[in-house]
Point group: C2
Chain length 174, copies 2
Amino acid sequence: MATLDLLAEAGYPALRIDEVARRAGVAKTTIYRRWPSKGEMVLDAIAAQLGDRSIEETGDPLHDLRRLLEVTYERLAETVAGRALPALAAEIMGDAGLAEEYRRRFVHPLRERARALIGRAIDQGLLRSDVDPDLLMDAVAGPSLYRPIALGVPAPAGSASAVFDLVIHGARNH
Amino acid sequence: MATLDLLAEAGYPALRIDEVARRAGVAKTTIYRRWPSKGEMVLDAIAAQLGDRSIEETGDPLHDLRRLLEVTYERLAETVAGRALPALAAEIMGDAGLAEEYRRRFVHPLRERARALIGRAIDQGLLRSDVDPDLLMDAVAGPSLYRPIALGVPAPAGSASAVFDLVIHGARNH
DNA sequence: TCCTTAACGAAACCGTCGGTAGCGTAAATG
DNA sequence: CATTTACGCTACCGACGGTTTCGTTAAGGA
């Protein structure tokens, strides 16, 4: 799609809808017949490239959880759509409907899958029973947004494993 | 300042400069004589309320690190400026100059202080010597942006302690 | 008292850009 | 052949960040 090309060249904020139309060989009105806003158009384009982030489950919840995190960070780091996703954050902060869509499509599905894995890991005694699943998810998923936005550098694919290990093992010396 | 009031009422994206001027009983031109852009104006307003986030050091690096994190989350959760900061963070994705300013004023000072504390903790054998300080900071600071942006809910002040404990202790059952 | 300078207010204006309206046209569909 | 559907085109709107111009007030110094 032309949207993804422009996204790669200019990034989300500099992506002009007129330019998308021109590049796609299409009238701007046609775009607005298909999508209600710029944000939703980009959302669709991103979803099309990211696809679903399903992983094959091995039965070892901790292993699967690590894989899920790795795949997620990998797509964020290595696809145009993934690198554009944090910039969409600006748009969703000002549009409640778009924010809802964003979370429904990109955030919640991942968290639900992670939540199930964490629950199973606790049941099997692999994780302490007093860990708060949400807290754990926040800690391992946080850098995916924090790094590009607050630091200006993407979270490299390898950092998924590293942050997972850190949180799971802990940092204290004993 | 009028900027903070508007920020509290409407949030960053809906904050109109004309409105700030009207509320402050001042001409819009006066605002642009003092600040080069909306972003920098808000940056100043936020900095004025957040103040410096210094803590008194006790000599126990882990304790000080926790306090630093708690104070940070506290201000993010309990001040107008703090709650507006994530939206401003989203905005900086489209303005490299503003992003630099944002990081120079809000991100880097905190990370430098945290980095020093982590280094001291490692030296004193309180943390494993193989922990990556940046990784640790990403894990504990990540939720401060991830939660408001990706989840739409602020990181409560209490979560600072919780995420700190999680990362420091680890989640694995053994 | 006069002159200069600095700061401000008022209001009109500009450019960009997301989003619309209106209208004509070409291809399916029956 | 009539109708529907989808599209292209052009002109337009409105919001809003930011600028320009000009007139006014008020220090402050000689």
